[in-house]
């Protein structure tokens, strides 16, 4: 996937459309980086998208809370390397299963779109 500008703007303006994707991104970030606090997750996504994806707090934190309510991640207070208290989120077993499932669904969908676009070209 190649996130473009259009998508970044969309993430800020219409969070609910992004919801499923955002969940996948958060889960994947935690999978690859291990337990992280909210700011680190946001920075990572921004970095990966070359600054295209800037999550505001009002989008990120409710998403984290939603994932936690679904039992896919688990948050707990801890201290950062700079000795600051922060809430760290870690994947749960259910989260891993969910990630695998969503990843597969995404791959399938991307494949379909890809084939469709190629066919059209």
């Amino acid at each position: 996937m190649k996130p473009g500008d259009a998508m970044g703007r969309k993430a800020e303006s219409k969070a609910d459309v992004l919801q499923g994707t955002l969940d996948l991104m958060v889960l994947q970030t935690l999978e690859s980086m291990g337990a992280q606090h909210g700011y680190a997750i946001a920075s990572r996504l921004e970095q990966v998208s070359n600054g295209a994806l800037q999550l505001n707090m009002g989008t990120l934190y409710p998403a984290l809370m939603r994932l936690e309510q679904r039992g896919q991640i688990k948050g707990s207070w801890s201290t950062t390397e700079t000795n600051r208290r922060a809430r760290y989120y870690a994947l749960t077993a259910a989260g891993r299963r969910q990630l695998a499932k969503e990843r597969q669904a995404w791959d399938q969908m991307a494949g379909i779109i890809q084939a469709l676009l190629n066919g059209e070209a």
């Binding site: 700011y39 505001n56 309510q69 679904r70 896919q72 208290r85 922060a86």
Partner: protein, 897 residues
């Protein structure tokens, strides 16, 4: 299922927030600090916080809970209003639920048996054939039942039951017990399982079975055997025969008669031993109950029975029937009806009264609701500023309406909760009303889901009735206007009170119905208690005997022994006089024969009540002689056949001719050969079957007192073991012991049961007493409620006009002018309401006229009295606020702002 778990967590978090706001805020703060360290500003903390809160719980539920909390706070702030509202709702809903519970128990609920919907009752389509009937619900003889069973196609099985009175125990410990005859397949048919041991089966019920197994009821097991496990296998002596207890029926099964219970169940075959003999074709003591075969409908079963009827009845014609009786019997046809609800004396006797009472309680609840609506409306007006402030702060109209509905719902909910114990208690009290010593009532009125559903639905309906009105009004609150308005209103605006006036008018109309009903039913009861029975019921008792050994006496010995027994009782200390009779008046016994009047212009066959009595009967019951002579001891078996008739008989059947010397011929029927009797005397009329107008077996249909023929009991062709004896005492206590002593000296085997005749009268009055008490109580309540409503309206109107009144007073209005001003407001709604109430009340009474006695459903004095009562109540309710308004001090009023 990730979404479900999210929802559950959010629901949970709505009630118990897991992460406090502070926790959320700290997380956001960390985020912002980290961002700031990287030299980036993060804004939107407030919005983020709001989004988090929304995600944490369920926002709408949270809002709802906050509204509920707010509603609770509002209600707590006015404790008097709240408790009055809750209490009146609880009483209203509770009273309705109590009566519903009773109706449910006697009218709606099925027997506690398997698949009650496929049970079918089978009976002849009447008119009833002649013979001996045992019990209220009997519809078949043993031969008839056997024949139905053999011939029918529609049912998988046809069983039968019958009720009986047995004396159980031995020697001095003999007690009467309620017996139940059951065919072998009866318990299997109903699918009832034994609580202990086993129930009777087809193997137990075969001809010549003798004294075999017996099943006892749960209640009898508890009271008689203390619930001991060792009861199985014990011997139970029933009518001097030893039966073996093989099992205990489950507690919820109290027999096929709703509202009554049984003690002991025996297989029908044991009837050969205890009576009635099975093959007697004129002994009606069974009620057939059948289960439809799968695939058969009730209609198909009816058609089958109809087609088979001629054959079935032809095969079972009782012996000794005259040609006419035989003809009538052969023409009978079998009908089938649903049997799953069982039979019920309660249902037949009190069903209508209960429906009427439910209607009255519903009206009462309606008045309560309208009172509450008025109160809430007044409060809504008083709270206009509060609501306007909330509207101005951004609360939507929907939110405000919801708030009103929530408050009403809270009141109704609390009322419904409180109604549950009230309903349970009242239902038990109602059962106690119907439970008389003569006819004990066993009725389970335990609250079940039906009652809970009833209370729930009633509560929702009350909210709809009284909660919507203020909600509707609130939806028109104009926030800005209400805020602009100062509390210094000169006068209340007319439209606002219009609705209250409509409510008062409606209350008046409904109260009119309730007050008229109260007066009518109290009068009915008074008239019924005042009914002249025609005989002395005070200190008069009836004795029912049991002496199984007497069955073996020869007819002559019976005839000789019966006067000895009556004499022995008469000489017992405390007894003024005693007489034997086949029929105890008002006890439910009925006895009739066909007869012809000899030499009458039309030699038609007529029917009349007959009583076989010993000569002392008239003196014992203080029935006066009007002409001729009374029966004497000389009118015995060998003497000329004579009778005494009552005045009603003379009026109805003798066409004005001189009764003395007239001969009547009793027509043939089983055990009663045709015989001629000469009328030798005429006595006063008495009640026979009920206190109301009763079946006179004559052309008129009903009469206050039916024609009765009194035949010397010595001239009765088939004297059965000891007929009941009626005793008048001198009022001293321990009569039973005194009589027992005398009777035992004669024959220690004889046992008896003694009950006051007054208890038969009480029994006959049970439903009317209940109706009178409740209807009377409801009438008083209606008056109180309507006074409260009216007081509320006038006080509210007056309070709204305080300033106006102050100005008027200071401008020179007199006190009486002020009173007139205040009262004028409420006169029209009262007049209109009462005027509308009169036809309503008359209509209601016309519908209930079967329950009235001694007065017409449009009794004018009653309506006038109700009008006067309501007018007085209205005047009283209006007087206080009017008087208070006239005492206002204009200086104080006008300076108050």
């Amino acid at each position: 299922m990730s979404t479900l778990s999210e929802w559950l967590r959010r629901l949970w978090a709505t009630v118990f927030p897991g992460r406090a706001d502070e926790d959320l805020a700290e997380e956001l703060r960390t985020h912002m600090e980290l961002a700031a360290e990287r030299g980036r500003g993060e804004a939107g903390a407030l919005q983020a916080m709001e989004a988090l809160r929304d995600q944490r719980g369920l926002p709408w539920l949270d809002t709802l809970m906050r509204d509920v909390h707010y509603g609770l706070r509002v209600l707590r702030r006015s404790p008097i209003f709240t408790s009055v509202a809750i209490l009146s709702l609880a009483l209203g809903i509770g009273a309705n639920a109590a009566i519903f519970q009773l109706i449910d128990a006697v009218r709606l609920r099925s027997l506690p048996v398997a698949h009650p919907e496929t049970l079918v009752e089978i009976q002849p389509n009447g008119p009833q054939a002649f013979g001996s009937y045992q019990g209220l619900y009997v519809t078949a003889t043993y031969p008839l039942w056997e024949e139905i069973r053999r011939a029918q196609h529609a049912f998988s099985s046809v069983e039968a039951w019958g009720s009986a009175q047995w004396f159980i125990g031995r020697d001095s410990e003999v007690a009467p017990a309620r017996g139940l005859w059951v065919s072998g397949g009866f318990f299997p048919l109903l699918g009832i399982q034994a609580e202990r041991g086993r129930l009777l089966t087809a193997a137990d019920d075969h001809r010549g079975c003798g004294a075999g197994p017996a099943v006892i009821s749960h209640g009898f097991w508890q009271t008689w055997f203390g619930g001991r496990e060792s009861v199985i296998g014990q011997t139970l002596r029933v009518a001097d025969h030893d039966f073996t207890i093989v099992g205990v029926a489950p507690g919820e099964f109290t027999g096929p008669v709703v509202g009554e219970s049984f003690d002991v169940a025996l297989p029908i075959c044991a009837g050969e031993l205890l009576g009635p003999t099975l093959d007697q074709r004129d002994r009606w003591f069974l009620t057939p109950l059948a289960r439809l075969k799968p695939g058969w409908t009730l209609e198909q079963a009816r058609a089958d029975l109809q087609a088979l009827s001629p054959g079935i009845f032809a095969a079972t014609v009782p012996d000794g029937y005259s040609a006419e009786l035989t003809d009538g019997y052969r023409k009978l046809s079998l009908i089938a009806s649903t049997g799953g609800r069982g039979v019920s004396y309660l249902r037949d006797t009190y069903g209508t009264s209960l429906l009427l009472l439910l209607g009255l309680t519903a009206l009462l609840l309606l008045i309560t609701c309208s009172n509450l609506a008025a109160l809430l409306l007044a409060r809504a007006t008083a709270r206009e500023r509060e609501l306007a402030v909330r509207a101005a702060l951004g609360a939507g109209r929907r939110r405000l309406v919801l708030q009103m509905v929530i408050e009403s719902g809270l009141l109704a909910g609390a009322g419904a909760l409180l109604a549950i114990p009230i309903a349970a208690g009242s239902a038990r009290a109602l059962v106690a009303f119907l439970d008389t010593s003569l006819k004990p009532v066993t009725l389970s009125v335990a609250a079940d889901w039906r009652v809970a559903a009833f209370i729930g639905v009633t509560a929702v309906l009350t909210v709809l009735v009284f909660g919507c009105v203020p909600a509707f009004r609130v939806s028109f609150v104009d926030g800005a206007a209400a805020l602009r308005q100062t509390s210094r209103r000169v006068t209340i605006d007319g439209s606002r009170a219009r609705f209250q006036r409509v409510l008062v008018a409606a209350q008046m109309a409904i109260s009119m119905v309730l007050v008229v009903a109260a007066l009518m039913f109290v009068q009915t009861f008074r008239k019924l208690t005042g009914v002249d029975l025609g005989f002395a019921s005070k200190d008069t008792f009836a004795l029912a005997f049991s002496d199984p050994s007497a069955r073996n006496l020869m007819p002559d010995a019976k005839a000789a022994f019966q006067p000895l027994l009556t004499d022995a009782i008469r000489t017992a200390p405390g007894v003024v006089d005693a007489a034997a009779t086949t029929t105890v008046p008002l006890s439910g016994d009925k006895w009739s024969h066909f007869f012809r009047v000899q030499g009458a212009a039309h030699d038609e066959q007529k029917a009349s009540r007959f009583s076989y009595v010993s000569p002392e009967y008239f003196h014992t019951l203080v029935i006066p002689l009007r002409a001729g002579r009374l029966l004497t001891a000389a009118d015995d078996r060998r003497a000329r056949r004579v009778v005494v008739v009552n005045e009603s008989f003379v009026r109805t059947h003798l066409d004005g001719r001189n009764p003395i010397g007239t001969v009547i011929r009793r027509m043939t029927e089983p055990g009663y050969p045709e015989e001629s009797f000469e009328i030798v005397g005429v006595v006063g009329d008495t009640k026979y079957e009920t206190l109301r107008n009763e079946d006179c077996l004559c052309d008129a249909g009903v009469a206050p007192r039916p024609p009765i023929v009194y035949v010397p009991i010595a001239q009765m062709p088939s004297l059965y073991p000891w007929p009941p004896v009626i005793v008048r005492s001198d009022g001293r206590p321990a009569l039973a012991a005194s009589i027992a002593g005398s009777v035992r000296r004669l024959n220690p085997a004889i046992t008896f049961r003694l009950f006051p005749l007054q208890s038969a009268v009480d029994q006959a009055l049970a439903a009317d007493r209940m109706t009178a008490w409740l209807a009377g109580g409801f009438g008083v309540l209606a008056l109180v409620l309507v006074m409260a409503g009216l007081y509320g309206l006038i006080a509210y109107l007056t309070a709204g006009r305080t300033n106006e009144i102050g100005i008027r007073l200071s401008l020179g209005s007199t006190r009486s002018q002020i009173v007139g001003l205040v009262v004028r407001d409420s006169v029209w709604p009262i007049v209109i309401g009462v005027a509308a109430g009169v036809p309503l009340a008359l209509g209601a009474m016309d519908a209930a006229k079967a329950l009235l006695f001694g007065l017409s459903p449009a009794d004018l004095p009653t309506v006038v009295a109700a009008l006067a009562g309501l007018a007085a109540a209205a005047a009283l309710a209006g007087a206080i606020p009017a008087w208070r308004a006239s005492r206002l001090d204009p200086n104080v009023v006008l300076r108050a702002e």
